[in-house]
Structure formats: C-alpha cells, structure tokens
C-alpha cells in the first residue's frame, strides 16, 4: 500500500491566521482526500482533491475556507484559512489504493492543529 506523509505533524496557531498542510505520497495515485477529525469525534470528509482540476467539496465545507491544491499525482495541500478555535482538529489526508475498484483508502499520520 501507498506510504503517506504529512507536514507539519502538529502546530499551534493564532486565530485569524492560515496554515497549509502538505500531503506527500510515495506513488502516483488518482484519488486523494482530506478529512477532519474533531476532538473525540469521527472523521468527516472535507473534499476530494482532483489532479488538474478544482477540488470537490462536501456539504458544509467551502473553497474559501479550505483551499486545496493538487499539482501532481503524488502531492496535495490543504490550507485552513482565517482560523478560529473551532478549527482545532486533526486533519488527515488519504489516498485510494489497492487496485481499481478496491475503494481502500490509506491515511497519512495526520496534522494536529490547535488554534488559540
């Protein structure tokens, strides 16, 4: 399965600022995803990062708040803009691997964000 790394692993940021999270995969993948895991809660899909086109956002998430880039098949970034304490979460990227139609997703280690 694909090996996924994320930077930074954690950060503490002041409200009103922005943070860009990087996700790097060791192989080319078509599908990449960004999730949010709020404290003590499950994972919620933010968006699907599409290579060569704009990301597809889920209900409740907008591009102005969570701009995403996907410049190639091994890399993506998620920016959390104009942060507030409510954005304190773990942000995880994932890729779909395991062959065509497997729908298996593999996750990066996550970025733990605290907004003060």
């Amino acid at each position: 399965s694909a090996v996924i790394s994320q930077k930074p692993s954690r950060d503490i940021c002041q409200r009103g600022t922005s943070l860009t999270i990087q996700c790097q995969v060791d192989s080319q993948v078509t599908m990449m995803f960004w999730y949010r895991q709020q404290p003590g809660q499950s994972l919620t899909l933010i968006a699907t990062a599409n290579q060569g086109s704009e990301a597809t956002y889920e209900s409740g998430f907008v591009i102005d708040k969570f701009p995403i880039s996907r410049p190639n098949l091994t890399f993506s970034t998620l920016t959390v803009s104009n942060m507030s304490p409510e954005d304190s979460s773990i942000y995880l990227c994932s890729v779909e691997d395991g062959g065509f139609g497997s729908y298996e997703q593999y996750f990066g280690p996550g970025t733990r964000l605290t907004v003060t």
């Binding site: 996924i4 699907t48 298996e104 593999y106 996550g110």
Partner: protein, 112 residues
C-alpha cells in the same frame, strides 16, 4: 441517506478473551464495508474490507469481520485479545462512490 452506526462508545475486554466490536450499516445497493484502527497520535490503519463473496473476512493482526446481510451488520472480531489491541476502531462504508462514511468509533480497552 447512507449511514454507519457503532452502538458502543467503548468495549472493555480482558486479555486472552474474545472481542467483538459492533457495526451496523444502512446503505442502498451492495455495501462495501471497512474496518480501520487508530492508535494514539497516529493515523488510521486499514484492517479489512468486505466487497463480495465469503461473509467472513480476515484481516490484519488476527482480526476478522462477519458480514450479515439480514442483520445489516459487519462486526469486528478477534478470538483472543491482546493489550496492544487497545485503540480506537472505526467502521466505514462507501456510498457506491469513492467516498467513505465513517461510524463514530469504538474505543477498545484490553485489560491485562
């Protein structure tokens, strides 16, 4: 709308005893079902999946899960629990697209 339910927030079991972590699903069509495990301060790790075929699916670390269509369940099981199995377990399903819908998670605590 598709959903996945994990009715137990926490499951406690003694080491060496069998464990079960429950999951039920509500999906249209044929479900793809998954189990993931999250250890402290780490990302999710894929354990196993059911797509079609044998209702008993075997996965990593000695875990298995049984697909039961009539009960719309996909419970995770292990014959003999280890202390190192203590973690947060998530059941998930896809909605016949690439999107995964996760349950709320069950914390497994295995006591020595």
């Amino acid at each position: 709308a598709q959903s996945v339910a994990q009715p137990e927030d926490q499951v406690n079991v003694a080491e060496g005893n069998p464990l079960t972590v429950k999951c039920t699903y509500s999906v249209s069509g044929n479900p793809y079902l998954f189990w993931y495990v999250q250890y402290p301060n780490r990302g999710l790790q894929f354990l196993l999946k059911y797509i079609t075929g044998d209702n008993l699916v075997k996965g990593s670390y000695g875990f298995e899960a049984e697909f039961n269509k009539s009960q719309t369940s996909f419970h995770l099981k292990k014959p003999s629990a280890l202390v190192s199995d203590s973690a947060l377990y998530f059941c998930a399903s896809n909605d016949n697209t690439d999107k995964l819908i996760f349950g709320t998670g069950t914390r497994l605590q295995v006591f020595p």
